[in-house]
């Protein structure tokens, strides 16, 4: 059974934040011809191609700085799940490896790709969502996490 927890459901801020992601994607594609996919932008900083680094760096620096801007207006402190550090390392390795092999993450496939009606992106998004839901459900029901 799927039951919604209306105490934590925040459709308004979710839509507003999502709309900003959409505007960001439009700007980068319309003006610079690039896909606003974070794993791809991040990955391009690892395998650096000449003339293809500066915009990535600037994008990432602005992305990082956004946190400071938000903390000026919000008291809410970011909290991480109390999993051990090694689990964060495993998760990071899998996310880094998988998004490179699969050419995208939640933003590149989930927003730009689906928005373009790319069959590859729609397939990738369905797959990583189902896998992630499975992982979380297994942990929830069998490990109690």
């Amino acid at each position: 059974m799927i039951t919604i927890n209306f105490e934590v459901f925040t459709p308004g801020s979710a839509m507003l934040g999502g709309a900003l992601l959409g505007v960001s994607s439009i700007l980068l594609m319309l003006f610079n011809g690039k896909v606003a996919g974070i794993s791809g932008i991040f990955g391009g900083l690892i395998s650096r191609r000449k003339g293809d680094v500066t915009w990535r760096l600037l994008f990432v620096v602005a992305l990082l700085s956004s946190y400071f801007l938000v903390s000026l207006f919000s008291e809410q402190q970011l909290e991480m799940p109390s999993s051990p550090h090694w689990l964060y390392v495993i998760a990071g390795l899998l996310v880094g490896f998988g998004t490179r092999i699969g050419n995208g993450c939640t933003s590149g496939h989930g927003i730009c790709g689906i928005g373009r009606l790319s069959k590859r992106s729609i397939s990738a998004t369905v797959i990583f969502m189902l896998v992630a839901i499975t992982v979380v459900s297994i942990r929830h029901f069998f490990v109690g996490a």
Binding site: P11, S13, S24, F42, S66, E79, H85, A91, G98, A124
Partner: protein
């Protein structure tokens, strides 16, 4: 110059979107992924929905017919339609990592300046994972269709 300003504005909007939508909070993402917990948080659908409501019409009405960007660059869009093994395996591996903690690349970077130590471990490992995959791609001589 114009390209750099656009990259900055786009990165800032992206980070604001990640923070305002709540996606920088792993608990919120896990609340979405934990579909059968009896306390589901559908917010993530509204984030992607909000993004698509803005991006998709603009892409199809304005961007799609352009042969180059407003700054005169070629449009760096993938044209491959083939659902190949790297796409499927990559999505599976990414999904495994995403489900473990509830963090994907965008929120990891948008929240990094909170200086939560766990996020630094995650981002460093993500960097390493990406690098390892690039070595594998070189060895396997995989044609890279960037998203």
């Amino acid at each position: 110059m114009k390209r750099s300003v656009i990259a900055l504005i786009s990165g800032l909007f992206f980070g604001l979107g990640m923070n305002i939508s709540g996606m920088v909070y792993p608990e919120k993402v896990l609340g979405f992924l934990n579909l059968f917990s009896g306390a589901w948080d559908p917010s993530l659908i509204f984030v992607i929905g909000g993004a698509l409501l803005v991006f998709a019409p603009f892409y199809h009405l304005v961007i799609k017919k352009r042969s180059q960007s407003l700054c005169g660059d070629a449009m760096c869009l993938p044209h491959s339609k083939q659902i190949d093994k790297p796409l499927v395996y990559g999505a599976v591996i990414f999904g495994l990592g995403w489900g473990l903690i509830g963090i994907c690349p965008g929120p990891a970077l948008a929240g990094l300046m909170s200086f939560e130590s766990e996020l630094f471990f995650f981002v460093a490992a993500m960097f390493a994972g990406n690098y390892l995959a690039s070595l594998w791609q070189k060895r396997a001589n995989v044609e890279v269709n960037r998203i």
